[in-house]
């Protein structure tokens, strides 16, 4: 046990001390912030106000709360995955620079090494994402707070679940990588691509029907939707209290991916949790099997 703990400590320290890996992890959230600061927030603000019936005044801070909720849900949905990938690249880096030989030369099993990478990634990613969540909540509080205590709790739960998912996914994918070039390639694909396919940059509802159907098979989609629900539900309810008709609010829920449809069936939040839990279990199971059947020789 002490060996695992020491290795976990080593892996976490390395991740935070390696500025390259740490900053790479923050690229996607940074892109998202820039996009929101430059134009996305205005696009969403306009799309929200455009849908409100004329004659019903909507307080500005509710709209700010909606835009802020969308921003933080996107940020967290992306960060939980991309930070996990970057943190888990340590496993690949150890292979690429030969450090793994130095670890395997000791009388410890490969499962101890694999476990240490998994747990270290989990802790590093949770640390960063919890910090990000707190910053996000402070931001929302500053611009328009409509979240309940339960929403905040569920938001933290979503972070934990998505971090578990991101860690499991990255462990499985990184298992097959062994060079710096592959790290760069996968890092770039994940950083650039995940924001799109999880609906962080643009809502999934704005994609074509075919693409929406494909995306509905990806578990990360449901993670984004959970974040949206818990970050925006308060503001959406506040709209109802201001007299905005339920049909309009439902339309907004569809538009911002609070409602996700698997083909034509609306996926309830509890099903989203089940999808994520099952995905995590499958990915972790796959990772364990890969380690069990790993051949020493290449």
């Amino acid at each position: 046990m002490k060996v695992v703990l020491t290795l976990i400590k080593r892996n976490i320290k390395l991740f935070f001390k390696d500025k390259g890996m740490f900053l790479t992890a923050l690229i996607t959230p940074a892109i998202l912030l820039v996009l929101y600061a430059t134009f996305l927030s205005n696009v969403y603000r306009d799309s929200f106000t455009m849908n409100f019936p004329q004659g019903i005044p909507v307080p500005e801070d509710i709209i700010d709360g909606l835009v802020g909720g969308q921003l933080i849900s996107s940020l967290l949905a992306v960060s939980c995955i991309t930070v996990a990938f970057c943190s888990n690249f340590l496993m690949v880096q150890d292979r690429a620079n030969g450090t793994i030989k130095d670890l395997r030369i000791a009388p410890i099993s490969t499962s101890v090494l694999s476990l240490s990478y998994y747990v270290a990634t989990l802790i590093s990613t949770l640390l960063i994402c919890f910090t990000a969540t707190v910053i996000c909540l402070v931001y929302v509080a500053a611009i328009g707070w409509y979240m309940s205590a339960l929403d905040v709790l569920l938001l933290f739960l979503d972070v934990i679940i998505l971090v578990f998912f991101g860690t499991a996914l990255s462990s499985l994918i990184n298992f097959f990588l062994s060079t710096q070039g592959q790290i760069s390639a996968v890092g770039t694909i994940i950083s650039a691509g995940y924001g799109f396919i999880c609906g962080a940059y643009m809502p999934i509802s704005s994609f074509s029907d075919g693409l929406q159907k494909v995306i509905s098979f990806l578990p990360g989609t449901y993670g984004t939707s959970l974040f949206r629900n818990h970050a925006m539900d308060g503001a959406l309810k506040a709209l109802g209290e201001e007299g905005i008709p339920n049909e309009v609010i439902d339309g907004l829920r569809d538009a911002v991916d609070c409602n996700i449809y698997f083909f034509d069936t609306k996926v309830e939040p509890y099903v989203m949790y089940i999808v994520l839990f099952v995905s995590i279990a499958l990915l972790v199971g796959g990772y364990i099997l890969l380690n069990v059947f790993r051949k020493k020789d290449k």
């Binding site: 002490k2 060996v3 080593r10 320290k13 030969g98 130095d102 030369i105 000791a106 410890i108 020493k296």
Partner: protein, 304 residues
């Protein structure tokens, strides 16, 4: 002296490439064993199999009584390995690196601190403990590599080209440390090197070429078998040297005559006592042995 490493009929192929072919040799406890060969000869493959980093196709390896097929962990505890390239974590301090590696052998807390004190004294790196490994010079880093390999007090120290790229002074310091370890702790040293003068200090040498043993023996045996002697004669003219009937080459202020062995050198001196007033006899060097055995020169590991 008992055999601490016994390798029998070891073979390993990577696809069509036969990296190691029916390799058998012994290493005695406490000796400095040199394992020579150009890059790709099979040295690293053999070491990687010994350290359980690679599986073998056939053959057996017994290290300090532990059979590789039955007790890998036992073998890993007996081996300390200094890899060709430093594999420590550059971003972490020397202390953090050694602490994490010591824990792999269950050495933690006070036990680790006590061992660290011993090693930092032995290898003189007390003042480097807080420094990041990436900020160390090549020689400093090598000392930490050796400390890492010695953390768990292994019986065998495997040095895979440990002094490549180091300046002569640092090489000398490292060899003094290794020499002390052998004397004080009866440590067996398994060395691969490109520096023939280091191999010349070994107790036993195995030269491999294309995965097979080409020659083995003590440096003296190898020199006697694969090279002749050289007599350097000062203060004579070329006409006199020609009379000897052996190959020769002029050097700055003398002639260097190649003779098959020391006996032939003695006979020559007895035959021409008036000529041999100022002279010296030297054995062939390990470079000559290597060249004679493999037909290749070992320069920085590359074939010439």
């Amino acid at each position: 002296m008992k055999n601490i490493i016994e390798i029998n009929h070891l073979s390993k192929s990577f696809g069509e490439v036969k990296a190691v072919q029916d390799l058998s040799f012994r290493v005695k406890e406490g000796e400095l064993f040199a394992f020579l060969g150009v890059n790709g000869a099979g040295k690293s493959t053999t070491i990687n199999i010994m350290c359980a980093q690679l599986t073998k196709d056939s053959g057996s390896i017994v290290i300090d009584g532990y059979d590789l097929d039955k007790n890998v962990d036992g073998i890993k505890r007996e081996l300390g390995v200094v890899f060709q390239n430093s594999v420590l974590d550059g971003a972490l301090s020397v202390y953090d690196n050694l602490q994490s590696r010591a824990a792999l052998y269950g050495i933690i807390g006070d036990e680790f601190k006590s061992r660290l004190d011993e090693l930092s004294e032995l290898l003189d790196f007390k003042d480097l403990l807080k420094r990041s490994v990436s900020k160390l010079s090549g020689g400093q880093r090598r000392r930490i590599d050796i400390a890492r390999a010695l953390l768990h007090k292994p019986k065998i120290l495997v040095l895979d080209e440990p002094t490549t790229g180091l300046d002569p002074q640092t090489r000398k310091i490292l060899w003094n440390v290794i020499s002390d370890l052998r004397k004080n702790e009866q440590m067996t040293v398994f060395l691969t090197t490109h520096y023939m003068e280091e191999a010349a200090e070994a107790d036993f040498v195995v030269i491999i070429d294309s995965g097979k043993i080409s020659a083995e023996g003590t440096p003296l045996e190898l020199k006697n078998t694969y090279t002749g002697d050289f007599i350097t004669v000062y203060g004579i003219d070329e006409a006199t040297v020609k009379k000897f009937g052996y190959e020769y080459e002029p050097i700055r202020d003398a002639y260097r005559v190649s003779v098959p062995n020391t006996k032939a050198a003695t006979e020559l001196i007895i035959k021409y006592p008036e000529v041999f007033v100022d002279y010296e006899i030297t054995k062939g060097k390990m470079d000559d042995v290597f060249l004679s055995v493999t037909g290749k020169k070992l320069v920085g590991g590359t074939e010439k």
